[in-house]
Assembly symmetry: D2
Homo-oligomer: 450 residues x 4
């Protein structure tokens, strides 16, 4: 049985606020969506702690995964219609690549767990490896369905996701500077946060995209749409993804999991408050089934139990996370970095364990860069095709992109308890400490006094 054999006689549609409708035309795709592994994505928020700042953005990885699939499907349709390959190696689109492209698009995030970034940091899991496992392990429903296409189809799908698949057109559809993944999440996150920044002309970009021998390029007539996409992406990073309060909530989450890890790693009691579903992760010995049982709700359920834990740090951090009481933050620079130990000491003196109540985090984004062989993991650069077929790198033609190319933006911040900024607490024993601390803070920056 092949992919084509499983065409649905009548397509199935999913209403989607970003793409209006998502069209499923094949039973393989429908069955993949209906697996427990995929349905589980409904319980994992796309933006993690960001939803605590942009309350509209409570959407999950489920809708995003459908969206990436849908964009990929539309691109396949356009490629097949406008650039169908006629002979091997003509650099055009061979539609027998469609099944692997669609499945890789749909499944690219299947290995994500709750609050992935932070979770992975503490428990040394790796969502990319797990994605590969879910796709290739014979125990998953995903794998069984994919094998209906062919025995080695799961491996092909996994290889697209880890970039080792030979056809670079397919790889770049799913992962490049302008890929279906990014195009979906920018539009989707903009829609749900209620900001306008992430919006760009998706229909236009899809129209000017075209396959060529080494991957994907764009017709020069679409340059402005590509420019607009670059700027949208950049603005989303600065304004949404790097929001300081979101990073502050992430710091609390990280410290909370770190504290739990310390407490439970060696001592795993068996009472009503034991986080049984997390124990394998404290032990750093978990299997796929245990991983797939996790979701956002499992974590917050344990946090709710930890509220009442006898460990004061654990219970306090759990409450701060659930009740959304972020740390405060200030920007520091190379000039003021040397003050951090002093500030941490003041915080410790004020009664906060500095290991759990302070943090640093830097978030920088490079809006666009040309290919740089010096740099590890240099991104593929964006190239435009001229009327005569020649390719030109984007920043050669766009004043706007040239202006931002190679320029990073972002900041590095020091996080600490909001209590340190208290004022007028006249009977407060810690007042002198707070005052000294505040002496180093001005206009949201750490400042030197010398």
């Amino acid at each position: 049985m092949s992919f084509a054999d499983e065409e649905l006689t009548k397509e199935k549609v999913f209403r989607d606020p970003v793409h209006n409708y998502i069209y499923v035309e094949n039973k393989i795709i429908l069955d993949l969506i209906d697996t427990p592994e995929f349905q589980r994505l409904r319980r994992i928020k796309q933006l993690g702690t960001t939803s605590l700042i942009f309350h509209g953005a409570e959407h999950t990885r489920f809708g995003h995964s459908l969206g990436v699939y849908e964009i990929t499907r539309r691109i396949c349709n356009l490629f097949q219609r406008n650039y169908p390959s006629k002979r091997p190696d003509d650099g055009l689109w061979n539609d027998n690549q469609r099944p692997v492209a669609l499945c890789a698009a749909l499944l690219h995030d299947i290995g994500h767990g709750p609050y992935s970034h932070t979770f992975e940091h503490i428990f040394h899991t790796n969502h990319e490896q797990i994605t590969t496992q879910i796709i290739t392990s014979p125990d998953t429903n995903i794998n069984k369905i994919l094998k209906r296409v062919s025995p080695d189809f799961p491996k092909q799908v996994a290889s697209v996701i880890d970039h080792t698949y030979p056809n670079q057109q397919v790889v770049q559809l799913i992962s490049s500077q302008i890929d279906a993944d990014r195009m979906d999440y920018l539009q989707r996150d903009a829609y749900y946060t209620g900001t306008n920044y992430g919006k760009f002309d998706l229909e236009r970009i899809l129209r000017v995209m075209r396959p060529y021998k080494n991957g994907i390029t764009f017709e020069i007539s679409g340059m402005h749409a590509v420019e607009d996409y670059i700027l949208s992406r950049f603005q989303m990073y600065l304004q949404i993804y790097f929001h300081p309060v979101s990073r502050a909530m992430e710091a609390i989450l990280e410290h909370l999991l770190k504290r739990a890890n310390v407490l439970y790693k060696n001592d795993q009691p068996d009472d009503s408050a034991t986080p049984f579903m997390l124990l394998p992760f404290f032990n750093h010995s978990f299997n796929l089934k245990q991983y797939l049982a996790l979701d956002d709700g499992v974590l917050t359920t344990y946090f709710a139990q930890w509220r009442n834990n006898s460990d004061k740090i654990l219970s306090d951090l759990a409450a701060r996370f659930l009740d959304r009481r972020p740390l405060k933050s200030v920007i520091y620079s190379v000039d003021t970095e040397s003050l951090l130990p002093k500030l941490r000491d003041l915080i410790q003196t004020a009664g906060f364990n500095q290991d759990y109540y302070t943090a640093v985090n830097d978030s920088y984004n490079l809006p666009y860069d040309t290919y740089n062989p010096q740099v590890a993991k240099s991104q593929t650069q964006i190239e435009l095709m001229q009327p005569n077929g020649d390719l030109v790198e984007l920043s050669q033609l766009s004043t706007l992109v040239a202006a931002v190319s190679g320029k990073t933006a972002g900041d590095q911040r020091f996080f600490f308890p909001q209590e340190m900024l208290s004022r007028n607490q006249s009977i407060e024993i810690f007042e002198p400490i707070y005052e000294e601390f505040q002496h180093y803070i001005n206009n949201n920056h750490i400042i030197n006094h010398h």
Copy 2:
């Protein structure tokens, strides 16, 4: 200290995809939002199982509550500017009603728990009573903050929500045929499902709304906007809220909780799979703190554990819910209702316990009706104010509303396992039963054969 004393020198804004920004101008409101009781609403989905059909609609009661507050705030501003009361009983707006209106708007859903409708049905909780408790119990943070306004302010706020507050303008702002609650959820649910049906001209309706002696009325010039609202609401009911698959998932949820209740009511073991946070509810003896610890994630965490339970019905229903495998349904009528016992027997014979694998559900909506003293809980009718000040009931003037007034729409459905519709299962022992069952089904209806 009064409400006015706590005006913020600088308003705080929340980005909202529906209202663009939500403006908080008073520290009381900000502090209410920052309570654990209110933050908990971030973990309770607005539409429950509907998000399993409209995957975009994963928004929670948190954003909705802010939205109802914001609409109420805008109405207060318009009323204060255009219809300020000048002497007692002039039927205009007295802005000292603003604090109670804003707080009631913000807190009207504070007592909701996870999957409220179903949960209440099984465990006999009541979110309206709990709302009152959260507001008036001296143990909650909400209550403490409200008391900063005045000692009896919590009771006033609660009385708006239960409709006993003397000022009918305030009561109708929060609860009437066109109130801030409905106006927010129609717009919000439309936005998140990605359907257009719920959209109406909110700005226009707010502009033509006006206070009068007995509540809220609308200037006749806004009749078309009101018409459009009535139709939007009606279409949302038929197309979103009554979606048969959503009702099918609710049936599974209800049966799952019913089964758990049966299993745990009398026998509450103390092992790693015990749903400790739910035990008080199986016992029908819970306190407010225990109720406030619940959220969607707590339920699904226990469902995940129940997947592995030795009770086959519990584990199967838990998996069906988490993996989104709905029951199928068909419409029945007074003529075919008598066939239900026969169909239930066939289902039982095919191996499904009919108490847990079949259900009936009827969903009907009345788009609009005039006031009817015969009917218990008759809705306040909508009245329009003519240029000369006379009030006319809406359906007297609107051909469209007259056409739908008093006409209900909806259906009643019988739910059963999808397996009953199987075909071509040649070695299947149950095939004759399936065939007999299918004999009674045509075009999504139960049919008679006589």
Copy 3:
């Protein structure tokens, strides 16, 4: 040379605010758009005097014509993909109908002139006949281009527009209760007026549309989208197209052209103020070239000259039109119709020639009706296709449509100079007349006193 021979190697796109992009894939279509006859539609507003009330709605018949073409193109694509005919008379879509469908869609309004409705009324022109002429007359560029397809192609295109074309699928695409024409103008007029009423789910309707033996039907799964379209259309009529001030401006326009006709019909001077481009129409003897030279700007240019005309009625009406000074209006009924002569006399006594300063106009819309052989020109009813292939008429299934089916809505109005409503003009000789007039007016209605 056939239509297929003129496929463009690269499609040409037009940015469109309603459909995002309009795709032209064939040189015939591109060349039709580039004719003087079609470009002239850029100078004829879609909504005539309505733009004087909804100032945003200044769009022309050019964009609408492209929109109807685009919707038709999308339907052809969907029909060709989902319902391709396999043998004659299988009731499915034969894609060799595409050229005639696309050209008829693009050209269906090509015969419209400036302020068509009013212009035709005074000058006895007929835009439908002229459409046929433009398409079939060998003198036009349109005709020359169409003949590149085949010698009788122009006649075929014309026959689609006048409903005599044998293939009812094509005819109903362009003209039926849900056709490409209406679907475009509802969306477009809603967009440009800035109202929400005309919005419906176009993508969904296109998806559920399907060809059958006798025309076009809709899958039953799309019923709600069809319902929503019916209601949108109805609301657009009541709120936009029948707006009383728009009808008042039309009354002025009609009287202005009537006055000019009276003045110039017999006496056509040759001086700088002579409306040379209109003379053939005063004479009721014009050729196609003269008709095609007219546009909105030609009329308003003459109106600007007539401002200074020695005929007081002509100059006053011209100024009222250009400066947007509408007549006032009130609703009358069968009961109060008998008062109109009395009111007209009062107006005449107050110094206004009643032939030029009063008018009556009734505007009624029937939102939907079933087929009625009794009624001349009864509309094709809308039919839905059930899973088993049977057709059911819409109002049999939709409570909402049943409620409005066969019910007309609208009003009849009497128009008169705003001066008649003057008050407090103490030295005004006409005051007693005004007072008497106003005695018959209450709450925007004519009232009886007996």
Copy 4:
């Protein structure tokens, strides 16, 4: 009588697709809108020839003028609420500036005529001077209404528009790098063209705007919204306002008017084809009444007559404009500029008068710049207010704005008849000339061969 005396008891609203509603609260404003001078703006397109490329953009200066008024009104409301002046010279907002601000906003474009830019170039009119005249001349209705406020009120309004009004807050509201004029036209032109580029977060910008001693500044918390505005503006210039085909149509218009000027300047016949309403402009001797009689329709009416003129250049250019047959264009640089005389000669040899069939045009935009005293008419720079009240210039804080600050973008183009690009015209006498011409063109650029 003062402005305040003319408050309307009930505000009047205009439905607007960009701002939803425009609120008129004062009879002065309503009466200004109802003047012939202002209603005339309904007949002058906002974007001139751009509507020939973006067909959706047929909106007029009427809606834009209302929009600038509305934005200004909202700013006045916010300033009055949040920053009301308490004593002279406290740098806050004095609401007695509202009347002059609102009237200047509404009337800032009142002097515009049809296709202003081109018209002024040929006929040496000046819309800014005419704006002042319309406001201050005792003959206009505008002036009479403004004088109801006070005898010198018209002069004050005019002085805001020409920047000489003493209160810089009012001047900068109407004219600065982020003013009500630009904010309206960017949003409006984006809406009507159907492009997304011009959209920015207007509500946010208005919220962070604030008055200070020397004009208008922005709170630092709104930096990202200001950034986004700068980029939106820049993209609108590059993609919409500088569109090469729009510039090509403008070149035709300019040559057409130039030709008419040459023909009619000295020889003004009195026959049916004489452009009587333009004669005063050929004579460079016109009065205000004659100017106010012009609109887009008057020009195109004469163009329609000129189609049949015996002068071949006049008739050909008129047809090219009406039928939208643009010149082609290529980019040239300092290196290839020297080839222009050669190319013009070839065009002349091919039978096209080079004075009327070729043109050059450069369009460059500077997205943002800091204040530069070296530069004539240097723009006011944008400054942000920090928490402590200090002002910082935008590009000091924004990586993105710093990257584009002081960098111009755009191109210079040479325009010529499309015929010069003909191919395969085998019997064509001019073929060798065309070939030679094409030899200098590659990838839309002029190229050197040496």
